[in-house]
C-alpha cells in the first residue's frame, strides 16, 4: 500500500521536471533514435532527382551533373522576387484554373464565381426539387447554436469593457515547481541543491484603467480584393434616356426666385384648392334671414310711428291754430262786444284739467325735442351726454382735459423746458421735492369744480333757484349783530387792525395784586391741585 493512495489528491498542482521525465519515459515505448537526413541518393540513382531544399545538398555545393538551377545554401537565389505571379494550377480535366486569380487574397471558404457557366441561368427545376428545400430543423438548430455561441463570446467581451464594476477575476491555484539549479555547490543558492518555487498568478486590479490609448482611430486595413464582375458593361445612355432622366426643378408654391413657369394644372394640383369642399352651417343662413326680417320689421315700425307722429303733430298744429283762431275770434268778438255763447263753457273747464293739459303738452314737447336730438345725432348726443355727466374721478382717471379752461390756453410741462441745461435740470436734484410741486391742473379752475355740487345734477333734488341762493348767501353771518357794529360797511381794505383797550374787568390789576400777595391764599392752590388730580 502506497502512501499516495491513502492521502487525498493534492490541492495545489505540483510540477517536477524529474517526475515529468520519468512519466514520459514510462509512457513512451522505448524507441530507437534514427536521424532522418535528406541526403542525395548515391551515384547512379540520381535520375529524375532534383535538389530543391537546402538540406538536399548536405554540406556540399551544387551537383554539376544535374542540369537544373541549384542554390546550395540559398546562394544566388533572388531574395525578394517582386513578381506576384501565381503558379499555374490545373483542374481535374487538365485545364488551367484561371479562377485562382480571382480567388487570390480571399480566404478558403469564400465563394467566388468566375466562370461563364456561373452567369447562365440554371435549367428551371421543379418546385419540389430537393435542392431547393430549406435545410432541416436539426441543421438550422445546429447553425443557430454555433452562431449564438460565437456571438455571445463577442458580446461578452464587448460588454465587459463597458461594465463600470466587475468582480476581480478568479485566480488560478498556485503551482509548485521543484527546481534543481544547474550550478551546484556551496557558493550557489545558499548551498541548496534544490528549490521549490511557488508560482502564483499576479493579481489584476479590476478598476485599473486601460493601459493603452484606445480612442485612437485605427486606419482601416486594405479592402478585400474585388469580386469578378459578372455583368456586361453598362450601355451607353441614349439621348432619349437622358431626356427621360431630366428631372424638372423643384419649385415652391410660395417662392419662385428664379421665375420658373409652372403649368397651370400643376399649380392647381399643388394648391389643392379645388379639393376642399366648403361646407357652411345652415344656421348662418337662418341667422342672416332672421336678421334681415327683423331689420325690415323695425324699419317698418319706425316708419309707421313716424307717420303717426307726423299725423298727430299735424292734428295738434291744426288744433292749436283752431284754438288760436277761436281765441282771436273771441277777442275780436269781445272787442266788438259780441257775447260768445261758448265762453261760459270754457270758463267752466276745470283749473286742474287745464293744468294737466299744460303738463301733457310740456311733456310732449320735451319728448319731441329728445326725439329730434336722437334723430339728428344719436351717437354724438350720447357721447356728449356721457362726457358731461362723467364723474370727476373718472375724468382724472381717463386723463380727459379740463373743459373750457384748457381749451384756449395750451398747457406745457415746464419741466420739459430748458433740457439743454443737462441732466441735472429736469426734476432738480434728488433732495428737491419738485415732482408734484404743482397741481395737476390749473388750480383755480379745478378747485372751482371740486366738491361743489353740480348745478345740473342736483337740480331735481334741491331745486335750482334755492341752490343758487344757497351758494350766493353768506351763511356764516351772525343773525344778531354785536352792538355798535356796522357789517354793511365792513368792506375792509388791508389787514385787520386791533386797538389797544382799557382793561375792562380789571384783570391786570388783579394779577399784579396776586403776585404781590402772601402765602395765605391757600384755597386757590388747592383748587389747582384738585384740577390737576381730576385731570390725571
Amino acid at each position: 500500500m502506497e502512501l499516495s493512495t491513502i492521502l487525498p489528491a493534492p490541492v495545489q498542482p505540483v510540477w517536477d521536471r524529474d517526475d515529468e521525465r520519468r512519466k514520459r519515459a514510462a509512457l513512451k515505448p522505448y524507441m530507437e533514435l534514427v536521424s532522418a537526413q535528406a541526403i542525395a541518393p548515391p551515384y547512379g540513382q540520381r535520375r529524375g532527382w532534383v535538389p530543391r531544399n537546402v538540406t538536399d545538398y548536405g554540406d556540399g555545393g551544387a551537383f554539376p551533373e544535374i542540369h537544373v538551377a541549384q542554390y546550395p545554401l540559398e546562394m544566388g537565389r533572388k531574395k525578394n522576387s517582386s513578381s506576384n505571379a501565381l503558379a499555374v494550377q490545373l483542374d481535374a480535366d487538365g485545364k488551367v484554373k484561371y479562377d485562382v486569380l480571382a480567388r487570390q487574397g480571399h480566404s478558403k471558404d469564400k465563394i467566388v464565381y468566375s466562370k461563364l457557366s456561373d452567369l447562365l441561368p440554371v435549367e428551371v427545376v421543379a418546385e419540389n426539387d430537393p435542392s431547393l428545400e430549406k435545410p432541416s430543423q436539426e441543421e438550422v438548430e445546429d447553425t443557430t447554436e454555433k452562431t449564438r455561441q460565437a456571438l455571445m463570446r463577442l458580446t461578452n467581451s464587448k460588454i465587459a469593457a463597458a461594465m463600470p464594476v466587475r468582480a476581480a477575476e478568479k485566480l488560478g491555484p498556485a503551482q509548485f515547481i521543484r527546481y534543481t539549479p544547474s550550478q551546484q555547490g556551496a557558493a550557489f543558492n545558499s548551498g541548496a541543491k534544490q528549490r521549490i518555487i511557488r508560482l502564483v498568478e499576479a493579481q489584476v486590479d479590476p478598476m485599473e484603467p486601460p493601459r493603452f490609448k484606445i480612442n485612437k482611430k485605427i486606419p482601416r486595413g486594405p479592402p478585400s480584393p474585388p469580386a469578378p464582375v459578372l455583368h456586361s458593361p453598362t450601355r451607353r445612355v441614349t439621348v432619349k434616356e437622358q431626356k427621360e432622366w431630366k428631372i424638372p426643378p423643384c419649385i415652391s408654391n410660395w417662392k419662385n426666385a428664379k421665375g420658373y413657369t409652372v403649368p397651370l394644372d400643376k399649380r392647381l394640383a399643388a394648391d389643392g384648392r379645388g379639393l376642399q369642399q366648403l361646407h357652411i352651417n345652415e344656421n348662418f343662413a337662418k341667422l342672416a334671414e332672421a336678421l334681415y326680417i327683423a331689420d325690415r320689421k323695425a324699419r317698418e315700425a319706425v316708419e309707421t310711428r313716424a307717420q303717426l307722429e307726423k299725423k298727430l303733430a299735424q292734428k295738434e298744429k291744426e288744433a292749436k291754430e283752431e284754438h288760436l283762431r277761436q281765441l282771436a275770434q273771441k277777442a275780436r268778438d269781445e272787442r266788438a262786444g259780441i257775447k260768445v255763447p261758448g265762453a261760459g263753457h270754457s270758463k267752466n273747464m276745470d283749473d286742474e284739467e287745464q293744468e294737466r293739459e299744460l303738463l301733457r303738452q310740456d311733456r310732449h314737447k320735451e319728448r319731441a325735442r329728445e326725439r329730434n336730438l336722437a334723430r339728428a345725432a344719436p351717437d354724438k348726443r350720447s357721447k356728449l351726454q356721457r362726457e358731461r355727466e362723467r364723474d370727476i374721478s373718472e375724468q382724472v382717471a381717463l386723463g380727459m382735459p379740463a373743459r373750457g379752461v384748457s381749451s384756449n390756453e395750451t398747457q406745457f410741462d415746464s419741466r420739459l423746458f430748458g433740457q439743454a441745461k443737462g441732466l441735472g435740470q429736469g426734476y432738480g436734484d434728488d433732495e428737491a421735492y419738485n415732482v408734484y410741486d404743482k397741481p395737476w391742473r390749473d388750480g383755480g379752475s379745478m378747485a372751482n369744480h371740486l366738491y361743489r355740487p353740480n348745478k345740473n345734477i342736483d337740480k331735481e333734488a334741491y331745486g335750482g333757484e334755492e341752490l343758487e341762493q344757497a351758494i350766493k348767501t353768506n351763511r356764516f353771518v351772525p343773525d344778531k349783530e354785536f352792538g355798535g357794529t356796522d357789517r354793511s360797511g365792513a368792506a375792509r381794505s388791508g389787514p385787520v387792525q386791533f386797538e389797544k383797550e382799557e382793561d375792562p374787568f380789571g384783570l391786570d390789576q388783579f394779577l399784579s395784586q396776586a403776585k404781590r400777595a402772601s402765602k395765605r391764599k391757600e384755597p386757590e392752590k388747592r383748587d389747582d391741585r384738585d384740577k390737576k388730580k381730576r385731570r390725571d
Binding site: 435549367e123 435545410p135 447553425t143 454555433k146 452562431t147 456571438l151 460588454i159 482601416r220 464582375v229 394640383a269
Partner: protein
C-alpha cells in the same frame, strides 16, 4: 379581282412552313401519342388470348380456388410473394400477370428515356402555374408624408407603417383602423420589424437612430447607437436575439438586442446598403446595396462569404422565399433569383422597366415587384412568367409624379398584399375570388428557353 398575294421565293415559303410546323409540334415533340384505354385493353386481351389461349381456363380455375382459399383463411395477410400479383389481377382480370408487368415496365422505361432525352435536347419553358389576379381592395390614408416601410405582426392582427412624417402608425389588419401612433423619430422612418419572440417593435430612420419600442407600454426602451448616417433597413434574426441594420454609411451592423452592443460591423459595400435580410440557415445575412452587389455574410465571423456582382444597377430590395431555400433581388435592370447556401444564380425575371423599390413573395409562389413609378408586376416564382401588371391608382389630389411604391409585404397568410406609397397612402390588395383559369387564361406558349446571361 384576285387578292394580291405577296410573292415569296420558294425557299422562304418552305422555311416558313417548316417554322410553323415546328412551332405547332414543339410542345409535344418526341412524346408518345396519348394512350387510348379501350384500345389498349382490347389489344391486351387479343394478345393474351392469342398466346395463352390453352391455359386460359386453367388460370381462371386457379383464380377461383385461390379466392376460395382466401375467404377460408380470413383476415390473415397473404405471403409477400403473392401480394402484387393479386392486385394486378384485381385490376385487370383478363391479363396474365407476367406479360402485363413486363409490358408496363418497358413502357415506363421508354417513356423515361424519352423524357430524359427531351429535357437534354430542348429546355423549354415549363407551363407556369395559374394564379388568380390581384385587385385593390382597400386604401388607407392617414400619414402626412411618404409611407416608407411596413411590417406585419407575427400574430397577423395588425401591421405597422413608418412614414416621412416621422410617425409610426399601427393599423388593424382586418378593419384598417388606426390603433396607435408612435412618435419619437426626428426624421423619416425607414425600417420596421416586429419581433416574433418579444413584445418589441424595432424601427430605424434617417435620423441615424435605431429604436426598440416596448409594445406593452408603447415607449422606446432602447436605442442602438452607432450608425454614422441614415439607417435604411432593419432585420431581425429569427432564432438569435440579434438585430441587423444597414444604411447610408455603407455598412450593415449587427446588434445584440439586450445589451445594445454592436457585435459586428459588416463592411465591404462601397455604397449605401439598401436592404438587409436575415434567416436562420446559411447564409444568415444577405445585403443588397447601391454599389450593385449583393453580399452573403457569415454572421458568426462577421465576414462576407460571397459577393454577387450580376446586377448592373443598384439593388434596392432583397426578399427571401418563405418556403424554398431561395431569394430574389430587385434592381432596375432585372429581378434575379438565387439559390441559398452559396448564392447560385437561378434565373432572370426581366420586363419591369422601372426603378424597383420593393419585392414581395408569398408561399403560393407569387412574386410582386413594385416600381418607383407606381407599377406593380406579379410574377410566377418558378417560371418567371409575368401574369399581371397593375398601375396603382394615386390618391385624388396627389400629383401624377407621386405614384411610387416604397415597400410592400404580404401578410402572414399570404392572402393580402400591403403596399406603402408616395401618395401618402397604404393600399391593400387581395386575390380576385371570382376569377378562374377560364376567365383569366395564361397567355403563354411553349418557347425554347433562352439561356440569357444578363
Amino acid at each position: 379581282m384576285t387578292e394580291d398575294v405577296q410573292r415569296h421565293s420558294v425557299h422562304t415559303l418552305v422555311f416558313r412552313s417548316l417554322k410553323r410546323s415546328h412551332d405547332m409540334f414543339l410542345s409535344n415533340q418526341s412524346l408518345l401519342p396519348p394512350i387510348d384505354e379501350a384500345a389498349e385493353k382490347i389489344r391486351r386481351a387479343v394478345k393474351a388470348r392469342d398466346s395463352y389461349g390453352l391455359v386460359f381456363d386453367d388460370v381462371k380455375k386457379m383464380q377461383a380456388m385461390k379466392n376460395l382459399r382466401d375467404t377460408e383463411a380470413g383476415p390473415n395477410p397473404p405471403p409477400p410473394g403473392t401480394g402484387d400479383q393479386e392486385t394486378n389481377q384485381a385490376h385487370d382480370m383478363a391479363v396474365v400477370p407476367f406479360t402485363d408487368n413486363s409490358v408496363t415496365n418497358r413502357f415506363q422505361q421508354t417513356q423515361q428515356n424519352q423524357l430524359a432525352t427531351m429535357i437534354k435536347k430542348t429546355p423549354t419553358m415549363p407551363k407556369p402555374k395559374w394564379h388568380p389576379p390581384w385587385k385593390l381592395y382597400r386604401v388607407i390614408a392617414g400619414h402626412l408624408g411618404w409611407v416608407r416601410c411596413v411590417a406585419v405582426e407575427p400574430g397577423n392582427e395588425w401591421f405597422a407603417t413608418g412614414a416621412a412624417d416621422r410617425i409610426i402608425k399601427i393599423w388593424d389588419l382586418a378593419s384598417g383602423q388606426l390603433k396607435v401612433s408612435l412618435t419619437g423619430h426626428v426624421s423619416t422612418v425607414r425600417g420596421l420589424a416586429v419581433s416574433a419572440r418579444h413584445p418589441y417593435l424595432f424601427s430605424c430612420g434617417e435620423d441615424r437612430q435605431v429604436k426598440c419600442w416596448d409594445l406593452e407600454y408603447n415607449k422606446v426602451i432602447r436605442h442602438y447607437h452607432g450608425h454614422l448616417s441614415a439607417v435604411y433597413s432593419l432585420a431581425l434574426h429569427p432564432t438569435i436575439d440579434v438585430l441587423l441594420t444597414a444604411g447610408r454609411d455603407s455598412t450593415a451592423r449587427v446588434w445584440d438586442m439586450r445589451t445594445k452592443a454592436n457585435i459586428h460591423t459588416l463592411t465591404g459595400h462601397t455604397h449605401t446598403v439598401a436592404k438587409v435580410v436575415a434567416q436562420a440557415s446559411e447564409p444568415q445575412v444577405i445585403t443588397g446595396s447601391h454599389d450593385t452587389t449583393i453580399r452573403l455574410w457569415d454572421l458568426a465571423a462577421g465576414k462576407s462569404i460571397c459577393t454577387l456582382t450580376n446586377h448592373k444597377k443598384s439593388v434596392r430590395d432583397v426578399v427571401l422565399h418563405p418556403t424554398l431555400n431561395m431569394f430574389a433581388s430587385g434592381s432596375p435592370d432585372n429581378i434575379k433569383q438565387w439559390k441559398c447556401p452559396d448564392g447560385k444564380f437561378i434565373q432572370n425575371l426581366s420586363g419591369h422597366n422601372a426603378i424597383l423599390n420593393c419585392l414581395g413573395v408569398n408561399a403560393e409562389g407569387v412574386l410582386v415587384s413594385g416600381g418607383d413609378n407606381g407599377t406593380l408586376h406579379f410574377w410566377d416564382w418558378r417560371t418567371g412568367y409575368n401574369f399581371q401588371r397593375l398601375q396603382a391608382p394615386v390618391q385624388p389630389g396627389s400629383m401624377d409624379s407621386e405614384a411610387g411604391i416604397f415597400s410592400m409585404v404580404f401578410d402572414n397568410s399570404g392572402s393580402r398584399l400591403i403596399t406603402t406609397e408616395a401618395d401618402k397612402t397604404i393600399k391593400i390588395y387581395k386575390e380576385d375570388e371570382t376569377a378562374t383559369e377560364e376567365t383569366h387564361p395564361i397567355n403563354w406558349k411553349p418557347d425554347i428557353l433562352k439561356r440569357r446571361k444578363f
